[in-house]
Amino acid sequence: MILVEQLEKSYGEVRAVNGVSFEVQPGEIFGLLGPNGAGKTTTIHCLCGLVSPTAGKVRIGGADVQRDRVAARRQMGLAPQELALYESLSARENLEYWAGVYGLGGAQLRQRVGEALELAGLADRGREPVRRFSGGMKRRLNFACACVHRPRVLLLDEPTAGVDPQSRARLLDLVQAQASAGAAVVYTTHYMEEAQQLCHRIAVIDHGRIIAIGTLEQLRSLIGGRDVLRVAGRMDGPRAAEAAARMEGVEVLSAAEDLLSMRVEDGARKLEPILETLRRSGMEVRSVSLEQPSLESLFLQLTGKELRE
């Protein structure tokens, strides 16, 4: 349904997207996971034709996004990062507008708008101006506006940005419902938990380049099943790294003045010896965290930095 091949987008000297390739099948939720500025939004903009790529190809349902714009766009629904809503209009009027933009009319329009209101859980608030809605309600309506014409491809650019956990959970359910109905979904986020919970496949993106791609299990296997240990305190970065690296089964991922990150085999058993070694080397340990392998730890392993940095 979605085919992206060697996609590149440069702004002068800056290469925002660099050789990105992936495919998304109907019913699949494909996650683009990366920190702010990694190139997720630029990739989405290239997919929906808002930005012309410098190189590469994007096809939506077989239609080239650049050459056959209208056919490609007819199959798409976009929920942009901003709340693309008219605050003075009601939820129903917003949905009617976007349905009209996609050529729906008459009884079909009314039926789809009713369904979209139900989907977003706003059926009883449909006639209220959007400006009276909470942030979570606006996010759900923003999502419903992208779905009202039943697109075969859904492009969701950080659709849960700034919402409370309850609304986030509801939104994730809505996305899953769309995928279950057969839509191919591209979902960008910098929340690792969302990607883990929602996406069938995930591409980890940094500096415009996909650094890992696969299912959650495939990505976890890249870490080799080792835990990530973070020790915070007064660290002398190089000396702490040197002391830790001398221990068997310990790989230092990053070492700063106040934080030492390591990948450790059987972290729970090795925790005490590592801390003892660091103390003997003159480091002052203030807090410790031990994590099972996750996308966060994968990102740390691949880039040497935290996902939210």
Binding site: V51, P80, Y86, G100, V101
Partner: protein, 403 residues
């Protein structure tokens, strides 16, 4: 529903619901119009002055001077008030009157003896027309008085000798003598056999100041609306709706066309209301009101596109709004919306008439005056200007602004 209908409906719903903005765009010019109506009044107006007369002589003849200013047409221009000299001078100092005429003591005696004498006239320098009128009228009165004294001096002296009010016999004698004089001088007094045909060139201007400014006020409203409505493109951009639209199959040209049509419709309603208000202020029916409203609506569409181009060429909302605001104010001032062309220096008025709104305003006034030759070509020109602006904005929306 077609995409065009969806765009049009959405804009009309939003704009009509934004009552505060709509009120400001329409309210400011209407306020200016009503202010003019309050200042200048409705219907045909003429300057009205106050003439103070201080009669120090207090005789039959001196008391005849003041009524001379209230005869015929002069009476519609002057309100004459008799005052004591001190009060008259005090009111003149406060600027409460156009002129103060002082009839000196002994006026009648010197008049009847044909001795030279001086009438004192104080005028108000802060007024333009009325003091001149008072001065001219007084000069004429002085001249008429001399002829009267020459022709009817004997009868007048007889009347003056009978006390403060003339006796009936004296009045009858004066009337008989005046009739005889009229008979003798008829040949000289009859109008010469030359007729004067009066021709008025150029468009008939409304007699009322507020009505004269009404077309300009309509264009002021149009410029306010054009500025405000074009700023909606920035609202759509910053809210993300424009971006979402750019990712839809609907062309941005259709989006822009629907927005322009909504603006034209809104401006047409405002123009029609403004012109009807102007007609009411003029106190009479003007021809071509519907045609003028239509022309104003089309011109408003062009001004909307002009403002939209200014806004979309800028890199930020603040820059766009500031620049469009400055452009709108300059066009208002130069293009006859704030000050009539007639009140401008000739060179500035020439430039003003070349501005898009100045040209459109001049044409609308011509339509109202029923003098609009080649209007079809002018509509074509207006449409061509709008089309060029439309194409430029569409290109800008596609190249970066919408994304």
């Amino acid at each position: 529903m077609t995409a065009f209908a969806a765009f049009f409906r959405k804009d009309m719903q939003r704009w009509l619901r934004d009552r505060a903005a709509l009120g400001a765009w329409v309210g400011i010019p209407v306020f200016v119009g009503l202010l003019l109506a309050l200042v200048f009044g409705r219907g045909e107006t003429r300057p009205q002055g106050v003439l103070l007369v201080a009669d120090l002589d207090q005789t039959f003849l001196s008391r005849s001077v003041a009524p001379a200013f209230t005869q015929g047409e002069l009476g519609r221009s002057f309100t004459v008030a008799s005052v004591e000299l001190d009060e008259g001078l005090r009111r003149m100092r406060r600027g409460e009157a156009s002129a103060l005429l002082v009839i000196p003591e002994g006026f009648s005696d010197r008049f009847l003896r044909s001795e030279p004498q001086t009438l004192k006239l104080w005028t108000n320098p802060s007024q333009a027309i009325m003091p001149d009128l008072a001065r001219e009228t007084t000069a004429i009165l002085a001249e008429v008085g001399w002829y009267l004294q020459q022709a009817l001096g004997r009868e007048l002296r007889a009347m003056a000798g009978t006390g403060p009010w003339p006796a009936d016999a004296s009045i009858a004698m004066l009337a008989v003598r005046a009739a005889a004089l009229a008979r003798e001088g008829r040949a000289l007094l009859d109008s010469p056999p030359i007729a004067i045909e009066e021709k008025i060139t150029g468009a008939k201007q409304p007699a009322n100041m507020a009505a004269a400014m009404a077309p300009g006020v309509v264009f002021m409203a149009l410029l306010f609306l054009a500025f405000g409505l074009s700023g909606d493109l920035w609202v759509e951009k910053s809210s993300g709706t424009l971006q979402r639209l750019a990712a839809s199959p609907a062309p941005v040209e259709v989006f822009l066309a629907a927005k322009t049509l909504a603006a034209v419709l809104l401006m047409g309603c405002v123009s029609a209301a403004g012109l009807v208000l102007g007609q009411w202020l003029a106190g009479g029916a003007q021809s071509g009101l519907a045609a003028a409203a239509l022309w104003a609506a089309l011109s408003g569409g062009m001004l909307f596109l002009l403002m939209a181009l200014v806004q979309t060429l800028c890199r930020s909302e603040r820059q766009g709004r500031t620049l469009a605001n400055v452009a709108a104010l300059l066009l208002m001032m130069a293009g006859g919306a704030m000050f009539p062309f007639e009140a401008m220096p000739a060179a500035v008025a020439r430039i003003g008439r070349l501005t898009p709104n100045g040209w459109a305003l001049a044409e609308m006034r011509a339509i109202l005056a029923g003098d609009c030759p080649g209007i079809a070509w002018k509509i074509v020109l207006l449409a061509a200007m709008s089309a060029v602006l439309f194409a430029a904005i569409s290109a800008r929306l596609k190249k970066g602004f919408a994304a």
